[in-house]
Every structure is written in C-alpha cells, then in structure tokens.
C-alpha cells in the first residue's frame, strides 16, 4: 500500500464518474427501447423518425460522455 490521500480521492472520484456513464447507458437504452416499441406499433411512421432517434441518442449519450470525461480528467490530467 502506497500513494497519498490525493491519489485516493482521484481514483474514488473517477469511479464515481463512471457511475454517470452507466446512468447514461440507461438513458440511451430508454430512447432506443421506446423508439422500437413505437416503431413496431406503427412501422410506416418509423422511417421518418430515425433522425429524431439519433438526436435523442446523442443528447442522452452526451451527458454520459461528460461524466466519462470527468473520470478521464481525474485519472490522467489532475
């Protein structure tokens, strides 16, 4: 066991940041699941909504990427 308390905090913080990525995964899954259930109910309207799907995915994913970025900064940049 070596290292100092600052490094401990850094690693704990990075781990907490990774939780955010996991939560974003739930969000992305929600978007895709709702799109799919809607698309299966009305397949003829599905094609016109793929752009909206990707925008929704992008927005949901961006927040997860932010927390991933915080984790990266804590691990390598602090």
């Amino acid at each position: 066991m070596e290292g100092n308390i600052a490094q401990l905090g850094q690693f704990i913080g990075a781990g907490l940041g990774a939780i955010g990525s996991g939560l974003a995964a739930i969000g992305v899954g929600n978007v895709a699941a709702n799109y799919l259930s809607g698309a299966l109910r009305n397949p003829s309207a599905a094609a016109s909504q793929t752009a909206t799907l990707f925008i929704g995915l992008a927005f949901a994913e961006a927040l997860g990427i932010f927390s991933f970025l915080v984790a990266l900064l804590l691990m390598f940049a602090v």
Binding site: F54, I55, A58, E61, A62, I65, F66, L69, F76
Partner: protein, 248 residues
C-alpha cells in the same frame, strides 16, 4: 502513473493520442507539422480524391467512386432539406464539408497505427465553435433582433417566460461545448477501450477472449465513427434551423 515492475501488465490506453512532431524535436509550435496535421491532411486528401477525382468524368452512368460520392451528396442534401428547410439548402456546402471531414477523419483513425484527429477536443472544438459562430451570425443577419425570440417562448405563460429564457440562454451557450465534446469523447472512449482490451492480451489465460473483444469493440467503433459524423451533422442542421426560424 508509477512505472511497472517486471512481469506486471502495463496498459497505457492514452498513449495513442499523444501529439508528436513528425520531423524530430519535441516542441510543438503552431506551425509544427505533427501527426495531427498529417492525418487531417490525409482526411482532406480523401475527400478531394473522392469528390474531385472520383466525379471528374461527370458520367451519366456513374463510375464506382462517383456513385459513392453521389450517395453521400444525396444523403446529406436530403438531411439538410428535411431539417433546415428550403432556405437552409443555401448552407448545404458548409454542412457537407463538415460531415465529410469528420467522417473521413473518424474512419482514417480506425486504421491500425493511425492517429485519430477527431479524438482531440482541440480539433472538434474548432468545428463545434465554428458551427456555433456561423449559426449565430446567420441568425442575426437573417432575423435581426428577432433572433432573440429564440430565447423568449411566446406561447409560455408570462410568469414562466423569464425562467425559461434563462434556461434557453444557458442551453444555447452549452451547445458548442456539448457539440464538440460529444464527438471527441465518443471517439476517445472507443479507442481507449480497444487499447485496454489489447493490454489484457498480455495475460495468456484471457488472450483469446481479448482478441474476440477487440474485434467486437472495433466493429462497434466502425458504427460509432459513422454515427457520430451523422449526429454532428444533424445537430448542425438543427442549429441552423433554429437560426433561420427562431420563433418557437
């Protein structure tokens, strides 16, 4: 990061993103030719090769490279027309250029031993803030002060409007940040993940599994490279639509 003792596995997933001068030396000035410069230039060359040389024949029945170019052109043209409307088509060349650059930079980055330029926030931020500034200027030129109506929802109750306006202003200024970090973050995360799995290949027991994992993650990254270029472009179209038709 401490140096590894002998026999210990060293995983350095971020060494692939280090900017190095190509022709010796360690200092990087603004004019230094680095690996970033090289791979960005290659991305531009690919675009030029596909669109200038590939469609040089202007054939009625397109050649292979010309039909690839036409496919890209039609895809983005339809996207701009659908989302930004007819008056957005004027800005199609810019959007198409941004898409092609990101698309080819992403895919060149997937080549083994290559450098992924879009993994650097410095590169994507220029693209993101470029879109932000251009869209804001277009908004003010086209609508004058009416562009501020974007932040003042006329259908909301009067009491709520100041609060919504503050939120709208904040979300407007976060746009370029999220726009650029989304692209860089996605690409960085994927490439780092490949390197992490590659590091596990040093352990004999899990090496076959690691090879399978690398193949799977690589497949995912091919998908991500295309989707992120698409997402960047489609968000540009949406911001452009907001600038052209700011009334909520």
């Amino acid at each position: 990061m401490a140096d590894a003792a002998p026999g210990e596995i060293v995983i350095k997933p971020f060494d692939q993103f280090i900017v190095k001068p190509l022709f010796g030396g360690t200092e990087v000035h603004w004019y230094t030719i680095t690996n970033v410069t090289l791979w960005m230039a290659l991305a531009v060359l690919c675009v030029v090769g596909l669109f200038v040389l590939g469609s040089r024949g202007r054939a009625i029945v397109p050649s292979r490279s010309q039909s690839i170019g036409e496919l890209f052109y039609g895809f983005i043209y339809k996207m701009v027309e659908d989302i930004a409307g007819h008056d957005g088509v004027k800005y199609f060349p810019y959007i198409f250029t941004v898409f092609l650059f990101i698309f080819f930079a992403n895919f060149l980055g997937l080549l083994p031993m290559s450098f992924t330029t879009t993994s650097h926030i410095a590169v994507t931020a220029v693209l993101g803030f470029g879109v932000f500034i251009i869209v804001t200027v277009i908004g003010f030129v086209k609508n004058g002060a009416g562009f501020l109506g974007l932040f003042w929802p006329s259908e909301a109750p009067m009491a709520l409007r100041p609060i919504i306006a503050v939120i709208e202003v904040i979300s407007y200024f976060v746009r370029p940040v999220s726009h650029s970090i989304r692209l860089a973050g996605n690409i960085t995360a994927g490439h780092a993940m490949i390197k992490v799995f590659a590091g596990f290949a040093a352990i004999a027991a899990v090496a076959p599994l690691s090879v399978v994992a690398i193949a799977a993650v690589y497949g995912l990254e091919v998908l991500v490279a295309g989707i992120q270029a698409y997402v960047f472009t489609i968000l540009t179209c949406i911001y452009l639509k907001d600038a052209l038709h700011p009334a909520h």
